[in-house]
Symmetry: C2
Subunit: 717 residues, 2 copies
Amino acid sequence: MKAARRILSLLLLCSSPVATPAHAEDGYDLWLRYRPLAGPAKADTVAHAMVIVAPGRSSTIAVAVAELQRGFGGMTGHRLDRAAVAVSDAIILANPLQARALGFDATALGDLGSEGYWLHTTTLRGKRVVAILANTDVGLLYGSFRLLELAEQGASLSGIDLRTAPKLQLRILDHWDNLDRSVERGYAGQSIWDWWTLPDYTGPRYTDYARANASIGINGAVLNNVNAVKESLTARYIAKAAALADVFRPYGIKVYLSGRFSAPIELGGLKTADPLDPAVKAWWAAKADEIYRAIPDFGGFLVKANSEGQPGPQDYHRSHADGANVLADAVRPHGGIVMYRAFVYSEKNVTDRARQAYDDFEPLDGRFADNVIVQVKNGAIDFQPREPFHPLFGAMPKTPLMMEFQITKEYLGQATHLAYLGPLFQETLESDTLAHGPGSTVARVLEGKVDRYRLTGMAGVANIGVDRDWSGSTFNQANWFAFGRFAWDPDGDARAIADEWARMTFTPDPRFVTPTVAMMMTSREAVVDYMTPLGLAHQMATGHHYGPGPWVSDLARPEWNPVYYARADANGIGFDRTASGSDAVAQYAPRLSRQLDDPNTTPERDILWFHHLGWDRRMASGRSLWDELVMHYDRGVASVGAMQRSWDALAPYVDAERFAKTRAFLAIQRREAIWWRDANIAWFQSLNHRPLPAGSPAPAHPLAYYRAIETPFAPGH
Amino acid sequence: MKAARRILSLLLLCSSPVATPAHAEDGYDLWLRYRPLAGPAKADTVAHAMVIVAPGRSSTIAVAVAELQRGFGGMTGHRLDRAAVAVSDAIILANPLQARALGFDATALGDLGSEGYWLHTTTLRGKRVVAILANTDVGLLYGSFRLLELAEQGASLSGIDLRTAPKLQLRILDHWDNLDRSVERGYAGQSIWDWWTLPDYTGPRYTDYARANASIGINGAVLNNVNAVKESLTARYIAKAAALADVFRPYGIKVYLSGRFSAPIELGGLKTADPLDPAVKAWWAAKADEIYRAIPDFGGFLVKANSEGQPGPQDYHRSHADGANVLADAVRPHGGIVMYRAFVYSEKNVTDRARQAYDDFEPLDGRFADNVIVQVKNGAIDFQPREPFHPLFGAMPKTPLMMEFQITKEYLGQATHLAYLGPLFQETLESDTLAHGPGSTVARVLEGKVDRYRLTGMAGVANIGVDRDWSGSTFNQANWFAFGRFAWDPDGDARAIADEWARMTFTPDPRFVTPTVAMMMTSREAVVDYMTPLGLAHQMATGHHYGPGPWVSDLARPEWNPVYYARADANGIGFDRTASGSDAVAQYAPRLSRQLDDPNTTPERDILWFHHLGWDRRMASGRSLWDELVMHYDRGVASVGAMQRSWDALAPYVDAERFAKTRAFLAIQRREAIWWRDANIAWFQSLNHRPLPAGSPAPAHPLAYYRAIETPFAPGH
């Protein structure tokens, strides 16, 4: 009786058949969901994650330990206490000194640098331990996140042995965020920087942003838009940036600012912003001193100058190197750097826009200060669904170059289209510049292995906003994640990254992971197909770049018009960049240049980027160019339909909220893919008057219908 | 042994020392948190909430039952099943027919109308039941929410007996939300309407918006800004509004749209928008038909015409009544209404701005169609921290008038200042117009009890955005809540409402509730004191209305300038609205007019609104007007300091996140209160050259410092 009563009272103690509804899967937790594991994975993880031994005492160690407690707590339901020694099986975080004190051999850490880590399971004094060893605290933090990620992916912790260090020094998010909280080319709501309540209020979202970035090794954030305003450099806003830097510091993330080139005039009251003027140099030096007083580990400046109306050194007949160096001199005493963007096109230049960055920057090779790195977009135009790699890569042996990718999908369907950018990143990075013979890939250029670079890096234009799921859709989160992975290792594999992401973001169940990864891996090619196949570019509507506008021809500058890029008429289509055209091919290494100068040796995926060809030209498939083009548009639409069917079958594995949102967005994408196809076909058909190949559906409406569509409230403009 | 082993296995079964971190208190749940109750309140609630009997089958009944399950599930930890009959103690939802079938006496429902409910505990066939009885399903939904709210407040359900029906028919939120997702005068992030992904995607936030509104009896939402654009009336955007209407319908919430008066020209291709033109009438009728095809229960139009640059009937020399009636005729066949705003001021009118609405509208009394209601702001200027009630109330016996309050705090500290508006609402509503002798309060005017109105209503300009906590701060949520309560019962009590809100939003613990309600009840007067004491108005900086700008005098139109309102000079201050001035006092009922015409019988809180007085005028306190003014500024700052101390002492009762945010915002408020005080004192002192009273601190900076402050990125403009 007594025992029965005790049983009853215990039952009552733990009876709570309806708990408060669990935190819904609304996407906020990204890939760091830490939901309860089940089955063998849980048992394995529980066995390893009993106690944490972390002798370090820094704020970075504190957040690493807190993250391990949070993550393993969530996954196993057990609290991990922190202990001084491994009294039982334990997770150990140790730098070389601490590792030796604990009895480890730490010699293997020598080549892991200041951010790498070694994660391995071993035994120590009879206890089974998972050791996270690194030369620095931030290395230990990165290792902690990686351990959690492996557990989330369903990996066994028993046989872990992972040594890794980042191949690039600068792994940076560029936020094109304005001080009024709008985000240029942002499709995920307003800026997460609430400038108005900074520095007084630093809510939990800033910390969660830092956690997410640290979990994928991102170590810098440019807070404000490259189209910068003077106010970002005022004391009031420096204090706001400093408050963010304080939040980010434990996570190994440095703060950078976009610097407005004309600030010495606008804020300093000078008559000039000439970079060689002593007063201008002094103003920048004093401004840097002021910033470093507030942010001792300030990273430095990002600069967009003499491009799209921004002021710059050419206003004073100085070079971009002069412009970069005046800012570089200002931050050098403090250890800062300057990232100087090569994305320039001048209103005076009437040649091929694709040539201009190279024409402006290549002659300046070697003239930049030692703390300048030139930031180059992946392609020579502007973040198109597909572009050949930028010819500057491999062409500036004496100037460090860093990659600028666009994570936010300005030209790839913006918020709603599902387009996993991993293949785009990988395609660019594995492109061979042939700069020093075969194997001179863009990745190796960035890593400083083709030419020795003192600085290396990769920037991604962030797709982050205040939307609850950060990136506007669940699958857009994958692009943030993939950027981080490629910045850590430019030789990475898009499919493997998608696999990791899908396991953590949803479930490791292979019935979900396999079709989802397959869908992701085809998604970007689908966008290329329905928007700009065969090397076409910039066929988007004006300004907001939302939807098709291949007919647009009335904008003031020729290179603002889609017709400038497609050059379609009754006879053919494509931009002649061969020696008989703009000769942009000459900007590539000679062997590659020769290959691209001939349509027969140019990859078909890029063929209209480099060549103007007749509609009847025979393609590899045997189809005419026109029929091939139409086939691609059709294939793009069909791919989206296949993604819809694939997703619908995954309902059993996905929570209701994220399932419904992705499903609704795929429906939008399908409708808009058809719009893209039909508008383009209607337009090109109005020029070439050719019939559609058999089986291809005619556009649903006449061309005038598509030309009349207006979308004045498109986001992100 | 066996028993012990069973105990152990039970213990293991329920051992989960660290659950996934509970959903943080980030404010998203508003006052509908449904957190676990404790102690006697839990036992009492569990005893009553065992099963739900709800014979109805509508979508409204479904959401009511779901809410009861969610709410009582959260509060008690037990799932409430739905049963056909009260097999045990139960919550019963029944309309009169169902009530009789269950054995209730339903005669008492007769006077509860179509939205009221009767909530009471009784016994039925030997079972103890909580009965929610109403004439309609939406009444049952309102009663369900009220029951949950009472439980959340810690009330015992044993003796409940509450009969209530709304005193106003239209209880509406006006969203000043633009189609680009910006919100005019919004300080809580972008619009919650994601027009871009509507109608395809309707995420859970729309449902939670409807839940929150239904919980306080709000039954309408105007989706788009009164400064309307034509696109809202296109088929594309009607479909988007219809998707929202579908979400809101089960919650008893109708959708309304702001109509752009010139749409017949801009969309219809007509040459005119003259309301008496037959083609214009036909266009509006056809447009209404189109809307009702998509939204069969569309509520109707809100119209801002001939005000601040908006087009309107006066463009065609027609009256506002003509303008309202053309839209009213269009929606009448469908049961729709028109809410026509009286907030007008014309560029041609050179008289006192405070007179204009009355001058324009009072002569039109009786000329509006029977489905028009004129929407009047609480005061004659524009949502100031304090205004005397609008003289139109009580002055239009043959025209239904509805109240327009501003919930978003455009002029009361915007996002960050803590200002509970309950006292502002109450002060206006209990003001006696004396229209038909004493007791003709504004509340009774609105209720149609002073003059018989066929339509009654109250609108609130919403303070809702995508901020996680909906309203930009936790305490701003109280203003949304209070608006709902006052719209239900304009004779309500601000303190009682604050008490209810604080219990539900935080905790019923009196150690928290008592000081919090006290703080809330003083907060709005603090803002009046540090911004615009003694009847001053519109001293805010230009455009964004953020911060002080009492010196502004260079704007094109006189009534845009703060100096127009304060009229301060070396000798005195205040706006003479007496018979010897603008004679705006003549717009009030004669007895009140006489009282306000004399400074000696005008309440001091409004004295400078009606009178221009010398700086030396002796006030009731014995102080000079100047000293009294300074005392108010000082008192406002001191009140904020007291709020800070009060809040700091409440840390033990509040979760970390909401505590920290409120604390940071109070620090901002304190700094800005000092800014307001010092800037105003510096300005007025520059005119009157008078010393400060003993003990009053001098402004920290010279006047030039305050005049130089610019805030170009202030939100909500």
